[in-house]
């Protein structure tokens, strides 16, 4: 017992100091008015009632949920499609795998800068390309209707990270399943639908859950690319939280925002888990 505790003590201490303690502190602070320079003043559920009447909060919660519903299917779809393309026995396939993977290791700040330039409405590559085939320019990051799809396009470029995970699990699909399907006369679509996708479903479940958590914490790219604009169409929840904490120093209110974020992600995760019994296939069951 003592030996076990001794070995795990770094994590135990870290858990108390950096997770458990802060969670309790955050719950308490969310019930206070705390402008950082003065001591916190207990206000009960004041922050939460303020939150319910905060038009911005609703806007960003809805905006972020909408973004989640756009981003997750696209990201997963692209990653699976790439993985299936790359899971073939072809000469030079490793070179292709590398090419698709590389964008995902570009630091977020550099990615955001690069895409800001590509999306530039006057001199950017995308509009220059559109103009050269006779199409009008698009305000990728300046038109509120286009700003979210633009973020998704940028994220698709970084789909290589997820692609690698799907590729690894595709390589684990036993060959005999495909052979059996083939003998039964299954075409490409049926093989994908009834063999590949069920075998990938545990990984898809994992992607959906990390996607839910990830989209609600979407920060660096948004902070650098648009700072929430145009017309607040990309003011993601995490940006609003950050501004409340570190721009307006409304620490209590920011903690309340964080707790609501936690509850939202928890509910989404639970829904996904509940539904997973219907669509996730585990080997051996």
């Amino acid at each position: 017992m003592l030996v076990g505790l001794a070995f795990t003590s770094p994590w135990l201490i870290g858990f108390v100091v950096f997770a458990l303690g802060p969670v309790i502190a955050s719950a308490y602070l969310s019930l206070t008015d705390y402008p950082l320079m003065r001591a916190p003043v207990f206000v009960g559920l004041g922050n939460y009632t303020e939150l319910l009447g905060d038009e911005k909060f609703w806007r960003y919660a809805v905006l972020n949920t909408l973004f989640m519903f756009l981003e997750i299917p696209v990201a997963i779809g692209v990653a699976i499609a790439l993985a299936m393309l790359l899971n073939q026995r072809l000469r030079g396939i490793t070179l292709y795998r590398t090419l698709f993977f590389l964008p995902s290791i570009v630091p977020a700040v550099a990615t955001a800068m690069l895409w800001r330039w590509i999306f530039n409405s006057e001199y950017g590559l995308l509009n220059a390309g559109l103009n050269s085939i006779g199409l009008p320019s698009i305000g990728w990051l300046t038109d509120p209707r286009w700003s979210k799809p633009s973020f998704i396009l940028m994220d698709v470029w970084g789909a290589g990270g997820a692609m690698v995970i799907y590729l690894a699990s595709l390589q684990g699909v036993p060959e005999h399943l495909y052979e059996a399907a083939h003998l039964d006369g299954a075409g490409w679509w049926s093989r994908t639908r009834f063999v590949t996708l069920p075998m990938l479903s545990p990984v898809i479940l994992f992607s959906v859950i990390t996607g839910v958590i990830g989209t609600f914490q979407y920060f660096t790219q948004a902070f650098i690319m648009t700072r929430g604009g145009p017309e607040l169409s990309t003011l993601f929840y995490a940006l609003y939280l950050f501004d409340n904490a570190f721009q307006y120093f409304k620490m209590g209110y920011a903690c309340a925002l964080a707790w609501v974020l936690f509850v939202i992600t928890l509910i989404c995760t639970l829904i996904v888990f509940r539904s997973s019994a219907k669509w996730v296939y585990y080997e051996g069951n």
Partner: protein, 278 residues
């Protein structure tokens, strides 16, 4: 014999699709490098020009002297390397406790540890910030580094999985010879786990190299900035000089590409493991 032409056709379709898509994925990279070599006059030219008429190699030294690059590189390396060491050291200790030692409550605690992965960073961000502020650590590297020495849940999980594959007989034999757990840990388990330790060190390094929010919250003085922060402050001062910005972005990206090619295997393994079994 009928199968051969069909196979060839299939391969041709695959290659065409792959090449077109790979081309599309390369475009942003090529555009970054192309812009970084253009003189000011060509950046704002009409139409798409891939190859600068007169490549301005001088954009690179100009970009790197426009902000204290060497200093930021040093700061970033210091943080990334210290954090890698911290996470590898602490996580391997904890993972040993969670896998090679039997004790009551172990599995419950392990589950608790796994569940912390679900905790959004934002919930703990503010109290942890206040804690570091009370300690007088804001404006120093300590808030960015110290937490690494208390283990990271995903790394602990990965190492535990790896440690479990080491045959128990090895530990049993060592125990009979009178070795303590500490000796088994340092003498048997760690040496056998070098590949896993390297993978984790690498992932932490990359992660810290890219980190933006941590330095943004905790570092105030420009001379402490990391490359990620420096790059961002660069936008503020040279907003329209896209050639210099792209040169700087290329330089910040290159080390990661180099690390990737040097350690491709660990890289892919690490991503697969953290992604699949989280």
């Amino acid at each position: 014999m009928l199968k051969r032409p069909a196979k060839l056709l299939n391969a041709a379709i695959s290659y065409t699709t792959l090449t077109l898509l790979a081309g599309a994925f390369c475009v942003p990279f090529l555009w970054m490098v192309s812009t970084s070599l253009k003189p000011d006059t060509e950046i704002f030219a009409q139409g798409v020009h891939w190859i600068p008429r007169t490549p301005q190699w001088s954009n690179y030294p100009a970009a790197l002297t426009a902000f204290p690059f060497a200093r930021y590189l040093g700061n970033t390396l210091f943080i990334a390397i210290t954090c890698s060491l911290g996470v590898v050291l602490s996580s391997s200790l904890v993972a040993y406790g969670f896998s090679r030692v039997r004790w009551p409550g172990r599995d419950a605690l392990f589950l608790l540890m796994l569940s912390t992965i679900m905790l959004p960073e934002q919930v703990t961000l503010i109290p942890v910030f206040i804690l570091f502020r009370k300690l007088g650590w804001t404006g120093t590297y300590l808030p960015l580094i110290v937490p690494s020495f208390f283990g990271a849940a995903i790394s602990i999980f990965l190492l535990r999985q790896f440690f479990r594959t080491i045959p128990q007989e090895l530990s049993d034999a060592a125990e009979i010879d009178g070795c303590s757990d500490w000796q088994i840990f340092t003498g048997i388990v760690l040496p056998l786990s070098r590949p896993a330790l390297a993978t984790i060190g690498l992932l932490v390094f990359i992660n810290r190299w890219m980190d933006y929010m941590g330095p943004l919250v905790y570092l105030h003085r420009p001379e402490q900035y990391t490359l990620a922060l420096g790059l961002y402050s660069f936008i503020g001062r040279h907003g329209a000089e896209w050639n210099l910005l792209m040169a700087a972005a290329t330089v910040v990206t290159l080390p990661l590409v180099a690390v990737f090619f040097l350690a491709q295997k660990q890289f892919i393994e690490g991503i697969t493991l953290t992604g699949m079994k989280g």
